[in-house]
């Protein structure tokens, strides 16, 4: 087993260290840091934008680059959070609390250094965790039949709705709306084009990029413009990067706890970087001397930064082993794999080991690149922040449009994206979280297919989902999750947690 691990990692490094892949890894983390620094454009929109461009790359290079964007964004987000109290990324909201205070006290350097170290450490650990736990999990998944897959997807969707912000009923409704939108297009079994209204453009279904870009990319620009967000940037001078011995000592525990918590929460459906950083900060506030929190406590930077990076990386586990995305970014990665003709799932590891292990080792290399890249380049990133939004958003819009248009080289997709942008605006205004919709959209066709097969195999007996042991356990967990969320005590803390 251990020999296997080393052997596998060897394959991975062989792939990831090739000059070409190293370059795409570098481009990925550089772009990731860039969009992480810039508020108003996140990893989701960036990956969606770049998806059509990856048509021409080899599958492994494409995945390495896209993964780099995701965890690179976590790094970039923390830089702006600390220096200008602006979370470049939603997962670094929490880093603002203590990071910016440290910067105001003239300790921006140590804060940035600790954030980078914490992220690097967490990234390394998470890489090892993926390498250790993904293979056995994939082995279990290979035994899955349609009933098990269906129940697993139910669990994934329930997880995503439970963790979504705001009202639970609305989140479930959004998931179902997503499933329904996913069904649009030609039905595989009967060949009937459903909900296409005679439009040939809809017979292949709605492209995932169209939905994601509209709901997240366009809607965000519209909301930003409506609020007329004035961004004033005060940049503190960064002097002396090295943290003191005392800093290192007090933050090492926080880094360890943050990494552990983030790794666990990243695997959960609906989890990932955002949830991990919030949970880690809350945990840190309950341990040891808490008098300094909110006033520049270094542990308040170290823990969430470690957690968001660990969470960002371990959220790849469900994707790589089960072929099921745990958050919208992972759903886009599935899209990227499908474009390359790879069916995501447990068979990837055995059939395409170079792809699987190459991607995992590239994460480690990418983390190293980020540390080398970020600390010396901080000055440049900060300069970027002074670019006003009124110049930024037309450019973002252009990239989005070109990305969508390239999907099929037809104007129809662009028009549809605009309509989803409108829908995204309405969702935000009505406090309906769009993330569960995206997951539902991706899983819709898969779920229907597995449901049909399971019912056919069981001759129409729906109890099969409960009587098959694995499937029953998965559904049991899903029901339990829902019940726990509905319990009054949890409901209250949930409301509090999302208000903070």
């Amino acid at each position: 087993m251990e020999f296997d691990l080393i052997h596998n990692l060897g394959i991975g490094f062989g792939v990831a260290l090739s000059l070409q892949n190293l370059m795409y890894c570098f481009i990925g983390v550089l772009l990731g840091t860039l969009v992480g620094v810039l508020p108003g454009i996140g990893p989701l929109a960036t990956i969606a934008m770049l998806l059509p461009i990856t048509f021409n790359l080899s599958p492994i290079s494409a995945l390495i680059m896209l993964a780099g964007i995701y965890y690179g964004a976590q790094y970039g987000g923390s830089t702006t959070a600390i220096l200008v109290n602006l979370p470049g990324e939603s997962s670094s909201v929490i880093t603002c609390l203590d990071g910016y205070q440290m910067a105001r006290q003239g300790r921006a350097g140590p804060a940035l250094a600790i954030a980078a170290m914490a992220s690097f450490f967490a990234g390394c650990v998470a890489t090892v965790i993926i390498a250790l736990f993904a293979p056995p999990l994939a082995e279990v998944a290979l035994k899955f039949g349609p009933a098990e897959y269906f129940s697993l997807m139910v669990l994934g969707l329930v997880g995503a709705t439970v963790l979504a912000a705001g009202s639970l009923v609305k989140a479930i409704a959004m998931t179902i709306l997503g499933l329904l939108l996913g069904v649009v297009g030609t039905d595989v079994n009967s060949g009937i084009a459903r909900f296409s209204f005679g439009l040939s453009e809809l017979s292949d279904g709605i492209n995932f990029v169209v939905v994601a870009m509209g709901l997240f990319g366009f809607a965000e620009i519209i909301i930003n413009l409506e609020q007329g967000a004035n961004r004033e940037v005060f940049v503190n001078k960064v002097t002396g990067l090295m943290p003191t011995w005392k800093d290192l000592k007090s933050s090492s525990g926080a880094i360890l706890r943050g990494t552990a918590l983030g790794s666990m929460l990243g695997i959960l459906p609906g989890g990932g970087a955002l949830l991990s950083s919030f949970a880690a900060y809350t945990l840190e506030k309950k341990i040891g001397d808490t008098s300094n929190f909110g006033k520049g406590e270094i542990r308040g930077v170290a823990a969430p930064e470690a957690a968001n990076n660990a969470g960002a990386q371990t959220s790849f586990i469900p994707l790589l082993t089960l072929g099921i995305p745990s958050n919208p970014v992972m759903a886009l990665m599935i899209g990227a794999m499908m474009i390359q003709g790879i069916a995501p799932g447990p068979q990837v590891m055995t059939e395409r080991p170079e792809l699987f292990w190459g991607m995992i080792t590239s994460m480690w290399i990418g983390n190293l690149l980020l540390v080398i890249l970020n600390l010396p380049l901080i000055g440049m990133w900060v300069k970027l922040l002074t670019v006003p939004y009124r110049l930024l958003y037309p450019a973002i819009l252009l990239f989005c449009c070109v990305g969508v248009y390239s999907l099929s080289n037809q104007p129809f997709d662009v028009m549809l994206t605009a309509l989803f942008g409108l829908l995204g605006y309405v969702f935000v205004k009505l406090e309906c979280e769009p993330a569960p919709l995206i997951l539902g959209f991706i899983l819709g066709p898969l779920m229907e297919e597995n449901l049909r097969r399971a019912m056919l195999l069981s001759r129409g007996d729906a109890t099969v989902f409960f009587t098959k042991p694995i499937s029953g356990v998965l559904l049991g967990i899903a029901i339990l999750l829902l019940l726990i969320t509905l319990a009054p005590a949890v409901r209250k803390t949930r409301e509090v947690a999302f208000q903070e």
């Binding site: 329904l180 413009l225 997709d413 605009a418």
Partner: protein, 200 residues
């Protein structure tokens, strides 16, 4: 009965409407049985669930402890009605008519559909949204006939007009920079198949 939570009120209506529409359209497809599910099975069941959940959200709006006004975002019902009338008439007229081949009629259908779309976008949200989405749609349909350069300029100028302060000089510079970027990175660098000028 008083509506306390305007957001829940509209969200509930939206979910109920979406659920019922999916169920209604599904009536056109075979239902099948639980053993052999037809194409209508899955969407009908889900549409029903969505409608029920939507009804829950809708009724919650009357007893909610959160208070939101009924006017959640700018909404112009007249434009929406006009859009539905124009769009519906166009759709059904051209679906029935056998004269699809005639180029004049095709142009007319295209123009009317476009008008319905613009009215629809204009019915919701702030001015910024209308201009941004209009810019996007025009970019999509202008790219092939007008070429990349002009399409980019239209997109930038229209979308910048949706912002708060429109500075002519800046927009000119931004357009030039992005046109150069588009030509050299998208077309020359990445090899995307766009023509640069009209009629190429």
């Amino acid at each position: 009965m008083q509506i306390k939570n305007g957001k829940d009120f509209w969200a509930g209506l939206m979910f109920v409407g979406a659920g019922l529409s999916f169920m209604l359209v599904s009536l056109n497809y075979p239902m099948g049985s639980a053993v052999r599910m037809g194409p209508a099975y899955f969407p009908t069941v889900l549409g029903g669930m969505l409608a029920v959940l939507g009804a829950m959200v809708f009724f919650r709006a009357f007893v909610s402890k959160f208070e939101h006004p009924l006017k959640v975002f700018p909404f112009r019902p007249l434009l929406l009605v006009a859009s539905i009338v124009v769009g519906g008439a166009t759709y059904f007229y051209f679906a029935e008519s056998q004269l699809k081949g005639a180029p004049m009629l095709q142009m007319l259908q295209f123009a009317l559909t476009g008008l319905a779309l613009i009215l629809f976008i204009g019915a919701f949200g702030p001015r910024a949204m209308f201009l941004i989405l209009l810019a996007v749609v025009i970019f999509g349909y202008a790219l092939k006939p007008l070429g990349l350069v002009l399409a980019i300029v239209i997109l930038i100028v229209l979308s910048a007009a949706g912002g708060h302060d429109f500075r002519k000089k800046e927009i000119v510079i931004l357009s030039i920079v992005l046109v150069l970027f588009g030509v050299f990175v998208f077309v020359k660098g990445l090899g995307l198949p766009f023509n640069l000028w009209p009629g190429e």
